[in-house]
């Protein structure tokens, strides 16, 4: 990945290598550098900080254990870490059996896609491309994909949210992923 302005990715790669070798100091630095961004991801999905704290704790214990599995092929360290946090958060939601009360999931998700379109960084360029490709989808499938990613909605929750049959929602997601890939690769 090319280094953009303020892009800390090369250092995170380095830290990940040290963490894989059981360097606890590097682990602490990795936490210091990435926890605020990752905590935001957990809070967005779980809506309550107490739940998000538990998820962040679980995720980092798992990151410490799984660091030797990390390979740059799996994406940047940040997206690898975010995937672990998101999966933990989604599992926590499933265990809770219901979405905790909190900030309502509204069009705010879509606002990320617009507000973050800052093309001065690599992420901004990528978000620009993602946003442009999402816009080529039908409105409901598009929102379903964004809700699934941003808020960890399950197929069942998406079906309830969009008042659509489960099978329909599942095929929205699959079709959307297929079209997104064509658009993003093209």
């Amino acid at each position: 990945m090319p280094a953009g302005s303020g892009d800390t990715a090369p250092d995170l790669f380095d830290l990940m290598r040290h963490v894989a070798r059981r360097d606890h100091g590097a682990f602490r630095e990795l936490y210091r550098r990435t926890a605020p961004q990752l905590f935001a991801v957990a809070v967005r999905i779980l809506r309550q900080k107490e739940f998000a704290e538990d998820v962040l704790q679980e995720a980092f214990v798992s990151i410490w254990e799984r660091a030797p599995d990390y390979d740059a092929v799996r994406g940047s360290p940040m997206s690898w870490l975010a995937t672990i946090v998101r999966h933990r958060a989604i599992d926590a939601l499933r265990r809770l059996g219901a979405r905790p009360e909190g900030t309502a999931a509204g069009d705010e998700a879509l606002a990320f896609l617009v507000a973050g379109s800052d093309t001065s960084s690599d992420r901004g360029v990528m978000l620009g491309a993602l946003s442009r490709c999402l816009d080529q989808l039908e409105p409901q499938p598009r929102d379903a994909v964004v809700f699934a990613y941003a808020y960890g909605y399950t197929h069942e929750e998406l079906a309830a949210q969009f008042k659509a049959p489960l099978g329909t929602v599942k095929s929205w997601i699959r079709r959307s992923l297929e079209r997104l890939k064509l658009c993003l690769d093209g």
Binding site: Y31, L56, S76, T83, I90, L127, I173
Partner: protein, 226 residues
Amino acid sequence: MNYDDPKLRSILAGEYVLGTMPPRTRARFEQLMRYDAGLARLVGDWAERFGSIDAGAPPVEPPPRVWTAIEARTLPGAMRSKPIRFPFWRGLALASSAVAIALLIFVATKTDMPAPQPHVVAVVTDEDNRPCWLVTEDKGRGTLSVAAVWSPTRDAKHEFELWAVADSKPVPIGLIPVVRDQIATFRASALPKGGVTLAVSLEPTGGSPTGSPTGPILYHGVVLTD
């Protein structure tokens, strides 16, 4: 499921990243990814693309207790695998910090009256920065005193153990009192030199059997440099 169809592989990788995969399917998919670099790469691509959504969101600073718990579970020698939760922290009533510190300095200096004036080397606090133990050093006697400024809740099977942490490596100092105004004394040389953090963990009676913290690290302090 046919994991050879390129279109399907990409869709499954996308579902993995989105999080819409049911947990058992996800676990199976992770197993496949270990031996299928192509699949891992597809996951990496999707994670990178969707990750740009996270990068656009404002960061939120987690409270320090999250790292404390992670550290307690990952430091070499940490045996704890269960999640650490902090219910008792959330309704803990303590005297105000200023009053407690003033009281303690009085207690500490009074106890060591004949010796040269001991000086405060650290205040061990809970996650809300409320003082729990005061650590003073008496250079004349070469002693380190740890005084409780509160009476923490703990069951009869546990004790609190004080550790000096330098370079992420905890060195045991000893068991510390749990009744307000009680003082435990150690050799001052127990404290390693330079940039030391203090940590208090909850241990079985008699202290950690391994020489490293085995229970959660619940309290912290920073050694004040001269």
